[in-house]
């Protein structure tokens, strides 16, 4: 196991574990206000200090991990569920009108940065975690569609696909039975990377108020709420930011490590 993979796996595991444990236990109640203890610096009682309502920042970060994971996982799921079949279809019908329409549609979505999609959705339907998921999810669709199309195109030239065609299988069956299983590694690696991008995007959207709404704790909103106070209480901003940084870093290292581990050809070619 490479060092990157190990560090990435550990960081990601800590983050997932924090989210899971938060369902049954957090050091303090994240919804309970404790005004006498507001804005306390980190101490033995409050590892990361308390915020302007006296809430324990460590507990809020644990619960915030839940929000980040939920948004990013569903957003990646949307991207895969819609993007993978589109990519498979485009590759199976390469050079046809269908292929052209799918790929140009991809280009179009790429012209709308996910933040703009989120802004449009929020302007019309209001801000919520669900709308953040949709915005990030839409942006993920072309990523997977393009990746799958490219990889599937080269698989279509393989002998086993030819054999399947000779056996009378249709394009849809070949795509799902022979092409898709061979793309699993690629999808795991890209899924990890999109997952980390999703966490960054969710943090950004909540920071500007377009993501999860109070009282649901979210890392981005913790940073937004610290905005007016972090100049004299830096701990308010330092810990949520570190949580985002370490999680994203962990997932990126995990993605890189998995790519090397799952695709030995790439490892050899890596410079």
């Amino acid at each position: 196991m490479s060092r990157a993979l190990l560090i990435g796996a550990v960081l990601s595991a800590v983050f997932v574990l924090a989210a899971l444990v938060s369902f049954v236990w957090t050091p303090y109640d994240v919804l309970g206000l404790d005004i006498p203890n507001k804005l306390k610096a980190p101490s033995a009682a409050h590892l990361f200090g308390t915020d302007h309502f006296g809430r324990d920042i460590f507990s809020m970060i644990m619960v915030g991990a839940r929000t980040s994971i939920a948004v990013a996982v569903v957003a990646v799921g949307i991207g895969m569920l819609l993007g993978v079949p589109l990519g498979l279809a485009a590759a199976a019908r390469r050079g046809t009108l269908l292929d052209e329409v799918i790929m140009r549609g991809n280009d179009l979505v790429f012209a709308f940065p996910s933040l703009l999609i989120a802004i449009m959705i929020t302007a019309v339907f209001g801000a919520s975690a669900v709308n953040a998921i949709i915005a990030i999810g839409i942006f993920n669709i072309p990523v997977f569609a393009r990746l799958v199309r490219g990889a599937a195109l080269s698989l279509w030239t393989r002998d086993y696909v030819l054999a399947a065609r000779v056996a009378g299988k249709g394009a849809a069956r070949i795509s799902f039975e022979h092409i898709l299983p061979n793309l699993a590694n690629l999808l795991i690696v890209q899924g990890t990377i999109q997952f980390s991008l999703g966490i960054l995007a969710e943090a950004g959207l909540s920071y500007v108020g377009l993501g999860a709404q109070p009282p649901t704790p979210s890392w981005g909103r913790m940073l937004a709420e610290s905005q007016t106070m972090f100049s004299f209480k830096p701990h308010l901003a330092v810990f949520p930011g570190l949580a985002i940084l370490l999680t994203v870093l962990g997932l990126n290292l995990l993605g890189d490590g998995l790519r090397d581990a799952l695709d030995p050809r790439l490892r050899r070619a890596k410079r």
């Binding site: 280009d107 940065p113 019309v124 500007v208 930011g241 290292l253």
Partner: protein, 315 residues
Amino acid sequence: MLGFVARRLVSLLVSLAVASVVIFLFVEVVPGDPAAYMLGLNAAEDTLAALREQLGLNGTLLERYLSWVGGMMQGDFGTSYTYRTPVSEMIGERMWISLPLAVYALTLSTLIAFPAGIWAASQRGRFGDLLVMGVTQLGVAIPNFWFAMLMVLLFAINLRWFSAGGFAGWEAGFGPAVKSLTLPAIALALPQASILARVMRSSLLDSLGEDYIRTARAKGLSRRQALRRHALRNALIPVLTIIGLQFSFLLAGAIIIENVFYLPGLGRLVFQSIAARDLIVVESVVMLLVFAVILVNFLVDLAYALVDPRLRVGA
């Protein structure tokens, strides 16, 4: 070359048309009456009727779309409901913050990424390479608005080198204006520079492995000369793509960074308009940003063709 430009131009126009339809329909799906949505629950009937008239909501869907697009082509983006000023005027004012900010950030990103990427490639596997790869790994993972807050803490609050937010205004002179855009531009540039440096490095390593480099070396060029004269130019193609893509990220990313620094740019305008339910402004700003993204991608395609004549055929 002319045929290539013509083909790209057609695809540019089609993209713009489709994007405008999507944005238009999006605002059209506002549940119920947009005028009622914008005015809230307690609006009087005659106020609603007046706003509907002003928004041109009385025509058919096609008429409304054509008048929106037709207006934009003549620089008329409609009138903001909350500010009661032409949207084009508001955008015009704010653009002089957002656009320079994006260009400033892109310049910084390129200025940092090129030397870093080239250095890493020439040091492959050694200290410089590991350093650049490590720092860029962090740069990719750091949320830029958090990095911005940390910079405010250090450079504005502790060292007092910069102001913590706000914009000096171009009328205050070039120096002060650029100074107030410096921290935001660095915050925007850092993640982009990290990505760009990595692309630059791997692209350079790819072209350093090509036969023509061996030929150049056999001719007696030093490794450094071969890198500068032959590898760099070929490595630039993927780098240009990323620079083009980054411009759109920078324009959109500026929306968040403007909030950290209280810069009165397009981003703040969008958020104020969302809060005020001023859909005309949101619609116009989003269309403008998408237009900018599509235009930049078009220009990048043209730049490719200039760098690499092979791309002019077919494509």
